[in-house]
């Protein structure tokens, strides 16, 4: 049970939507009546009070209406709750699975993380009747491969202290985007950011020895060569052995699709638990209590507790 709670808090914290990515779905709480009355038009209000879990398409349609004018956070959250319910009620009956599928596809567009989008799109496909092709993690286009090679080069260069070249490479948006996407893999503890690299790049090459590491006085001075006192003969970004290992792994990942050992994947936290595109898990993951299917007084309640409402 503890584990389940842990899992839910993990998933929910990264499945958040809208403007505040840190806000977990559960703690958002039901939107206040005021907020909603402010943003719902009378027609929407009427529909909301009439929805019934026996007709999941009503949840989907209302969510689509709300998403046509996604101008406030409460509207988005209500849309999300409606879509999750459309999936939950639609998945059970064969004739309603198509509704559930559309709802899952719509919910995917509300998610930010590509992995969540993929997960919901896979659920949408699973819910479709027949053998619809599943979404695929597409092969990288060649242009992207070139940018990945450059991103890998950025890491080699910053370790060597080639700051000017790093700054130049980071001006390329594609290169930058790749590194941002892999930011958590830039160091062992995931704390090194692309901005850190950028700042580091400004310090190099070494102003004293231009990265030679050794100061060689002109012959005429008859003085001995010595290690550069500024960079100690070791220009460039300093990393712990573990972080160096993490960067090398990222570089390898960027430049090759060759399989990587499990130890390496675990050490760099690049292999999350596998997820099951099981429609039944959507409501659990989003923290929606699907038993509460009707909307009264600004909250979701169970139909048994609800008085019929006549608009």
């Amino acid at each position: 049970m503890i584990r389940l709670a842990f899992f839910l808090s993990c998933v929910c914290s990264y499945l958040s939507l809208g403007a505040d990515p840190a806000m977990p779905a559960q703690s958002a709480g039901p939107p206040t009546r005021e907020a909603l009355t402010l943003s719902l038009d009378p027609e929407e209000q009427r529909k909301l009070l009439q929805i019934d879990s026996r007709r999941p398409q009503e949840y989907l349609e209302l969510a689509e209406d709300l998403l046509d004018r996604p101008d406030s956070q409460p509207r988005l959250e209500l849309a999300r709750d409606l879509l999750v319910r459309a999936i939950e009620y639609g998945r059970v009956l064969p004739e309603n699975r198509r509704v559930a599928s559309s709802a899952a596809a719509a919910l995917a567009t509300l998610c930010r993380r590509p992995s969540d989008q993929l997960w919901l799109r896979a659920i949408a496909t699973v819910l479709q009747p027949g053998d619809a092709p599943l979404p695929q993690v597409s092969a990288k286009p060649l242009a992207n491969q070139a940018a990945e090679a450059k991103a890998s080069m950025v890491l080699t260069l910053i370790r060597a202290g080639e700051g000017t070249e790093v700054t130049e490479l980071l001006r390329d948006d594609a290169v930058r985007a790749i590194l941002v996407r892999h930011e958590s893999e830039l160091s062992a503890d995931g704390t090194l950011t692309v901005t850190d690299i950028e700042n580091e790049a400004k310090k190099w090459p070494c102003p004293e020895c231009s990265n030679a590491g050794i100061i060689t006085p002109p012959k005429s001075q008859h003085a001995a060569a010595k290690i550069c006192p500024v960079c100690a003969g070791n220009p460039g970004l300093k990393l712990s052995p573990e972080s160096l290992g993490a960067q090398l792994r990222l570089q390898r990942r960027l430049q090759s699709d060759a399989p990587e050992s499990w130890g390496s994947q675990l050490a760099t936290q690049t292999a999350p638990p596998a997820r099951d595109p099981d429609p039944a898990s959507v409501a659990i993951v989003f923290g929606v209590d699907a038993r509460k299917s009707v909307w009264r007084e600004g909250v979701w309640i169970s139909p048994a507790d609800a008085k019929p409402e006549n608009p």
């Binding site: 062992a188 290690i227 060759a258 499990w262 596998a274």
Partner: protein, 896 residues
């Protein structure tokens, strides 16, 4: 990073060449263990002999694998003996373009004769009938005993007995070519005869026989194939390149004159077409691709009739073509996979070609050196129609087909074509791939039958196909057979015509206990069906598993392991591997293999000590101090003398390799000037080749490294393995990857990495064994895929239809999970999840009344998986579930 996946050479583990010579690259030079450089034929023979000696000294030199390698070596030598072909190969595999110069003098007559023999073998694609005839012809011309010639070739095959050589009645004859050779022979003047004195002619009589046989062979062929145009004899001038009036009857120069009769499926003609297309790549890519496709198509239609050596020659030609094309950024994926996209029709050869394409695509997918773009392009197209997954890399052509066959069966069953022709070819392909391995053959055929029987129109329309497949079964009683046949009998959706066809084939097989009264009439009702089923059950005696001491011991251990906790990833993986081994032992008990089960249990009770391997200490890069050798070198400035002295001083010192010294050595090795400084730096770098600082410095300096063969040499040493890339003109991309691989090995991202990898290997090995695979296990990623596909094919013959548990639903779920998994560990979890589901389905078949208990196990498992916070924990839960299912299957009263 100690993973197999990373370290694995470009060729798969099963590559016989790697077995004998260690990892080698592609192409004839690498095979012969030399750099791509111009060689005269004496050189070639010398390296050939060196390689053959090396092979002969290997403990496994008498195995079929060694034989395959031996043939490949002859074939490579023959290619290099031809100057024109050698030049082409030099362009392909790097090296300078200088023409090879024959050494002074034409070489001894023995050497010439030997070359002739090697050419004969090489040009025939190996030691086959064709080669025998050629050797015979050469011996005849020289008056040499055939036995001597054979021993000269160091072939292990039994000596040729000339009188036994019979012209085989085959349509794809290459004999017209031979006739041309004989014409050539006649064109040569008698002055060659003095050379006879140099060779032994003690068994002259035997050679005489050979000549007689040959003449009769040729006469027969000419008589038998009157419609074939007799090729005009090649110009009767001795080949000038050889420097002597050579009596060589077969030389590459003459080959273009021989009509390449591709459509007859002549292996040599096909080989030539493909080698030719590789050559054409240099001038006209599109035309080359077209020419390749011609040869490829011809190969697809005829490969099942080729002999092993002929097959090997053509496949290696195709692989070479793919390499050459990928170097020029020509996409071969479409050409390679075209047959996979062609609907299965009635045309002869359509299944044969489909299987060939699958085999070649799998073979190419295992060539990591082919380049990322090429691999991706092939992978995206290498899907058997209707299959859930793209093809996987396979170490050999045959292994690739073997793996693809279940999907091919499903594709045939799913096509609208109901003629028996595709199934006949399917069986032909099956036999070509499995030879006499009855068990996998039966398993495959049962799966194919099941797919066909569940096709929409299996009845009257499908019956001829069912007949073909059922007749190709051995009908040896086995679990698979029993499960499948009873399932078909029980499934009323399968029409009587189809069941009738099955019983007819069964009776025709005259398997023990089966008699003609067991034939079911096509229109029989359920009672007749049940009656025959009952009689079959008596004959096959599907008895319960005996509860013996072993299974008691097994159960006790299962109970113990199932409650064992494991907290960190390493412990979880090790526990998972033990659970998997115990599941395997359970399987042995269930299938009445008590000895295997006992052995497995012993291993489990005494945990292997092999886990206790100590990982290498993590690499350390010393910071430069005032003593650094790099300082003296910098002080030396431009003076060559002073720099050499500084290097010498470093050589004589025991200084640590700090980052500055490493960088200096790398820079000077890469582009130091003049040459003595560069050479001294390289020598010193090689002395410190294992220093982590050298590795990092090489990676840092890499982009400025001149792309020369000499630099490739030392870089490959720094990378710690001689990759095939080393010999290519454009080697830097692969070189950088090799360096990064090495760096990942030297610099772990966490201290537990190596021990986790070792534990993953242990789990992979258990999966590998469970998949029924033998030999060296692949990576854990590969092993779980094998296990999944093994379970899929054994469960294919399932007729019970539990809601949510049909094979197609299991496959669909696997696909869905796979579509969102990115890391390989995640994918392994997905494949294992499918294994759990297959095992559950099998358990439902075995123990229909335990359905609820089985569903409890899977429900618990899926809940635990959903809440697991790591992929490794998910793996452990999967192994727990599979063992629990095995316990259920083995528990008392397990009779269905």
């Amino acid at each position: 990073m100690t993973s197999r996946g990373v370290r694995q050479s470009s060729r798969g583990r099963a590559d016989p060449v790697a077995l004998f010579f260690g990892p080698t690259g592609s192409g004839p030079f690498a095979l012969l263990g030399v750099d791509a450089r111009p060689m005269d034929s004496a050189d070639v023979l010398e390296v050939l002999h060196r390689r053959l000696d090396q092979l002969a000294g290997h403990p496994q030199s008498a195995t079929p694998a060694a034989e395959e390698v031996r043939l490949a070596l002859h074939s490579a030598a023959a290619q290099l003996c031809d100057p024109a072909l050698q030049e082409l190969l030099l362009q392909q595999w790097g090296g300078s373009k200088e023409r090879p110069r024959e050494r002074s003098g034409p070489g001894t007559p023995q050497a010439l004769f030997e070359r002739e023999l090697h050419l004969a073998v090489g040009m025939s694609g190996g030691w086959n009938d064709q080669a025998r005839l050629r050797v015979l012809a050469a011996c005849e011309a020289r008056g040499v005993a055939v036995a001597d010639a054979v021993s000269l070739l160091s072939l292990r095959s039994p000596p040729v007995e000339p009188v036994r050589i019979q012209p085989r009645a085959r349509s794809r004859s290459t004999y017209p070519a031979l006739a041309a050779e004989v014409h050539l022979e006649e064109a040569y003047p008698q002055e060659l005869h003095p050379e006879k004195e140099y060779v032994r002619w003690d068994i002259f009589l035997l050679a005489g026989f050979g000549a007689l046989a040959l003449v009769s062979v040729i006469a027969t062929i000419i008589l038998l194939s009157p419609s074939r145009p007799t090729p005009s004899p090649a110009p009767a001038t001795p080949a000038p390149e050889l420097g002597v009036a050579s009596p060589v009857p077969v030389s590459v120069q003459e080959l273009p004159a021989i009509p390449a009769d591709l459509s007859s499926g002549d292996a040599r003609a096909i080989s030539l077409e493909i080698v030719g297309s590789t050559r054409d790549l240099a001038t006209d890519g599109a035309a080359a691709l077209q020419r390749f496709s011609r040869g490829y198509e011809a190969f697809g239609k005829s490969w099942t009739m080729m002999q092993a050596d002929e097959l090997a020659a053509v496949v290696s030609g195709i692989v070479d073509f793919a390499f050459a094309a990928s170097r020029q950024d020509i996409d071969v994926a479409k050409a390679i996979t075209a047959p996979l996209a062609t609907p299965i029709g009635d045309a002869k050869g359509s299944v044969r070609t489909l299987a060939m394409s699958a085999g070649i695509a799998s073979r190419l997918l295992s060539e990591a050196d082919l380049g990322r773009a090429a691999i991706q392009s092939i992978a995206s197209l290498a899907i058997i129609p209707g299959a859930a997954q793209a093809l996987d890399g396979a170490a050999s052509f045959r292994a690739g087909i073997e793996r693809a066959l279940p999907d091919i069966a499903v594709a045939i069953a799913g096509s609208s074509n109901r003629s028996p022709q595709p199934w006949k070819e399917f069986i032909e392909v099956r036999d070509a791939v499995f030879a006499d391995r009855t068990e996998p053959k039966d398993r495959l055929t049962i799966g194919a039958l099941d797919a066909l029987l569940h096709a929409p129109d299996a009845g009257v329309a499908g019956a001829p196909g069912v007949q073909v497949l059922a007749a190709a079964l051995s009908w040896q009683a086995s679990d698979d057979l029993r499960n499948a046949v009873f399932g078909w009998f029980d499934d009323m959706a399968i029409p009587g015509e189809a069941i009738s066809a099955i019983t007819r084939a069964m009776v025709a097989s005259s398997a023990p206990g089966i008699d003609s009264t067991m034939v079911l009439a096509p229109a029989s009702g359920p009672e007749a069906r049940a009656a025959v089923r009952e009689r079959l059950a008596q004959v096959w005696q599907a008895g319960p598993v005996r509860t013996s001491d072993i299974s008691e011991e097994w159960k006790a251990l299962a109970a113990k392991l199932l409650s064992e906790p494991a907290t960190d990833p390493k412990a979880q993986l090790l526990l998972a591997s033990r659970l998997a081994l115990l599941t395997l032992a359970g399987e042995d008990i269930r299938t009445s293999k008590p000895d295997d089960a006992k052995a497995a249990l012993r291993e489990l009770v005494t945990p292997a000590a092999s886990n206790a391997q100590t990982p290498p200490p993590p690499a350390r890069v010393p910071s430069p101090g005032p003593q650094s050798g790099a300082i003296d070198f910098a002080q030396a400035g431009n003076s060559v003398q002073a720099r050499l002295e500084a290097l010498k001083k470093i050589q004589n010192s025991s200084l640590e390799t700090d980052s500055l010294l490493a960088r200096m050595l790398v820079v000077e090795s890469a582009r130091g000037s003049p040459a003595p400084v560069r050479d001294a730096a390289r020598a010193e770098l090689r002395r410190r080749i294992d220093a982590p600082a050298i590795l990092l410095a090489t990676i840092e300096f890499f982009r400025q490294l001149p792309e020369t063969p000499e630099n490739a040499d030392w870089v490959s040493e720094v990378a710690g393995k001689p990759g095939a890339w080393k010999n290519r003109p454009k080697w830097k991309v692969s070189g950088l990857l090799a360096l990064l691989d090495r760096a990942c090995e030297r610099f772990p991202a966490s201290s537990s990495e190596a021990s986790i990898d070792a534990a993953a290997d242990a789990l992979g090995r258990a999966w590998w064994l469970r998949a029924g695979e033998s030999g060296e296990p692949g990576s854990a990623d590969q092993s779980i895929r094998r296990l999944e596909s093994a379970l899929d094919s054994t469960t294919r013959a399932v007729s019970r239809r539990e809601p949510g548990w049909s094979p197609s639903e299991i496959r669909r779920r696997k696909e869905a999970r796979l579509s969102i998994a990115t890391a390989s560990l995640e994918k392994a979890v997905v494949m294992q999840a499918a294994c759990v589901e297959w095992t559950a389905l099998q358990a439902m078949m075995d123990r229909p009344r335990a359905g609820e208990a089985i569903r409890d196990i899977t429900r618990e498992w899926s809940m635990r998986c959903r809440t697991a916070d790591t992929a490794v924990l998910q793996l452990l839960e999967g192994e727990r579930a599979m063992l629990q299912l095995q316990v259920l299957r083995l528990s008392a009263g397990g009779k269905s």
